[in-house]
Symmetry: C2
Subunit: 414 residues, 2 copies
């Protein structure tokens, strides 16, 4: 692992990517597998889409299920984690699991998912939201205490959306304990594991969330964009595919004793949940099929633990190195992952005289890219500037040293 692995990816030569956490990276062999599937589909679209794809997809679903100790009957493919979170929250809102529905989330929720909750609040009388402010550094115990305080004081909260690994800052949350807390308070746990699969070990049987989504294109080396939606059997009656498609069985049809009639094959042994999600209308299925190649590539590298340990150690060492170069520190977290945050020596308030934090963030990314051919994720949290650094198997400590030098220069240019 290290720079030699750059040959396996399509990143432009010389580009120092310490931001694979944002959009993921796709190995060449996965793209090639995608192209093979794509050509097979084009050779006879009807054959593939009417007859072959359902079982092919079921095969990949079983492989993913094995990887995260889910069950292929509890796993559907969706295009990305945001679609997954929308599917869950909009379904729960439609099913109206309670007369008054409170949806809780931490202030560090991913923007699009926070917007999804607020969209429902803005448009649905019986839904309201509660945001729990989090200011890092913070211990897991404190996070759990804040969550429990809300669930204890507000008995109308029945849905809690939280990250497995939050995006900004890129930090692993006490997700298993949060699931347990939800169960204790009879609240649905909705785990946004956008950064989950391929990043940290997942055992969904043990963790037992009510709902979980994970991008495969972020850390699993999946084709962009591929994601999974995990819904245990006990909750499948609450969830419907988004968009509503051929697989939805209307009340009218149910009353008339009809099933779905669409001339599209269903995979062998598919339950009602799978049957509803399996054919999301005409979409590009080749990316999902290519996930098999992602898994094979990961095995060829030595497997999950090998990849994970390399990236986690590297980002830890790398972030320390950058902090040392900048004379700052690394955001301390209770558990490591393959992302880390280095404090940037920028005076948050003073800099706003020059531009807004959003403009500054874009300036930092754009200048790093245009002038120095590298990338990281700058952001403000709790009145402090940070750079989020992601480690991938093609990175080495040298990349962090380089970005440290670039940051030093950028800070002078500001």
């Amino acid at each position: 692992l290290g720079h030699a692995r750059l040959a396996d990816f399509d990143l432009k030569e010389g580009y120092v990517n310490l931001n694979a956490g944002s959009f993921g990276v796709c190995p060449k062999r996965v793209r090639e597998a995608y192209n093979r599937h794509s050509l097979a589909i084009e050779a006879n679209p009807d054959l593939f889409l009417r007859f072959n794809y359902a079982d092919s997809l079921a095969h990949v679903r079983r492989q993913i299920a094995d990887l995260i100790r889910s069950d292929a009957g509890e796993l559907a493919f969706v295009t990305n984690a945001t679609v997954g979170v929308n599917t869950i929250l909009r379904s729960l809102a439609s099913t109206k699991v309670a007369d008054k529905m409170g949806m809780a989330y931490f202030s560090t929720i991913y923007g699009a998912c926070g917007n999804t909750v607020e969209y429902l609040v803005d448009h649905t009388k019986h839904i309201y939201s509660q945001e729990i402010p989090l200011a890092y550094p913070i211990s897991h115990a404190d996070i759990l205490q804040k969550a429990e305080a809300l669930l204890q004081s507000d008995k109308d909260i029945n849905v809690f959306v939280f990250d497995l690994i939050s995006s900004l800052p890129g930090v692993k949350m006490p997700w298993v304990e949060l699931i347990q807390l939800c169960r204790k308070h009879d609240v649905y746990s909705v785990v946004d594991a956008a950064h989950g699969i391929g990043h940290v070990p997942l055992d969904l049987q043990a963790a037992n969330p009510d709902f979980l989504v994970s991008n495969c294109h972020k850390w699993l080396y999946g084709y962009r964009s591929t994601a999974i939606l995990h819904v245990p059997s006990r909750n499948q009656h609450l969830i419907h595919a988004l968009p509503t498609g051929h697989g939805y069985l209307t009340d009218k049809k149910k009353k008339a004793g009809l099933g779905k009639l669409i001339g599209i094959a269903t995979s062998e042994g598919a339950n009602a949940f799978i049957a509803e999600f399996e054919y999301p209308g005409t979409v590009d299925m080749a990316g999902f099929l290519a996930l098999e190649e992602s898994i094979a590539y990961r095995a060829s590298l030595g497997g999950e633990a090998c990849i994970r340990e390399y990236c986690q150690k590297l980002v830890q060492d790398g972030a320390e190195k950058v902090a040392q170069m900048l004379g700052t520190s690394v955001l301390q977290t209770e558990e490591g992952c393959s992302m880390a945050q280095v404090v940037l020596p920028i005076d948050w308030e003073a800099d706003q005289q020059k531009m807004t934090p959003n403009e500054r963030s874009i300036w930092l990314i754009k200048t790093a890219m245009d002038d120095y051919n590298c990338c990281f994720s700058p952001f403000v949290h709790n009145r402090m500037w940070y750079a989020r650094l992601s480690a991938q198997i093609f990175n080495e400590l040298k990349d962090f040293e380089y970005v440290g030098t670039v940051l030093t220069k950028l800070l002078k240019e500001m």
Copy 2:
């Protein structure tokens, strides 16, 4: 045009595809353009997704807008027509355009779209549906009369979903007159033009629908799956992107005077509608960008009229030929398009002793494909069996003669 054009596509050699209307066909050069864009994205995902894509996408949007006399500020990309119809109907349901909302549709509505209306009916107190039965053959005047009768008698109908070209049967509807009828009765017209763009001439300025969606992968030779959603300025405040993403401006943010803050560039001059739809989270954008190549390919063939006239004439002649071979007739319609229906000499009731119509349909498709390497769409309408035949530029009359022979054999095997 004709068999020589097969060289431009990836269809398997010898495969006689008279069903391009179902899943579309993608020219090799469009797939190659897709691959080029895809590689450019992989070379530096952050550069593309944060900075470059919005303006690139806006460029393609302008090209499509020109083609259908829409406006680039009224056009968003979505993955397929079903997603588009879901976006519109779910938005209207959320915005609650009236205290009681009736949604009307014809019985020939596309399955997934009918299911979408019924999903909303099943889960929303203030929404109900009215289905208008259509039995072909039927004149445009009769269709319009049935529609008007409902809108006159039921004043709570405020949304009418109808096809521009229905799927089964594949027939052009009096869509412009239906839009006018909706306007007269103060009802929102939702046009499902899944089979629209690249199939029949579209002048959206003249037709002036309230909402329209069209697949680009069906008839425009777009990469699978690409579609457009047209929302005139007057209705944009009613519509929100599905899934809710970074671009949604929550009531909270509006009250606080905040805009969207996401570190993702917006295209130059984007209005609020475009800004909300422009970045649908991490998805594969390469297909949308490759639409430029679809348009270039169509121009190289002689342009829209040339393609359209070839396909319409061919399907008309071809369907007549098949009907003659089977000793049946072609479903008469008031306006032609590139699909036609031939009556199959199957006794609908008697055949149900052997298998259900759905099973029979699958058997016909599967046997035609496995044993005779060809495809068409069989279906039952108004107690009659039909084969829907689609013509594309790579088809010739010979293909219809071949499918006629195959149908003769299949009918004997039943």
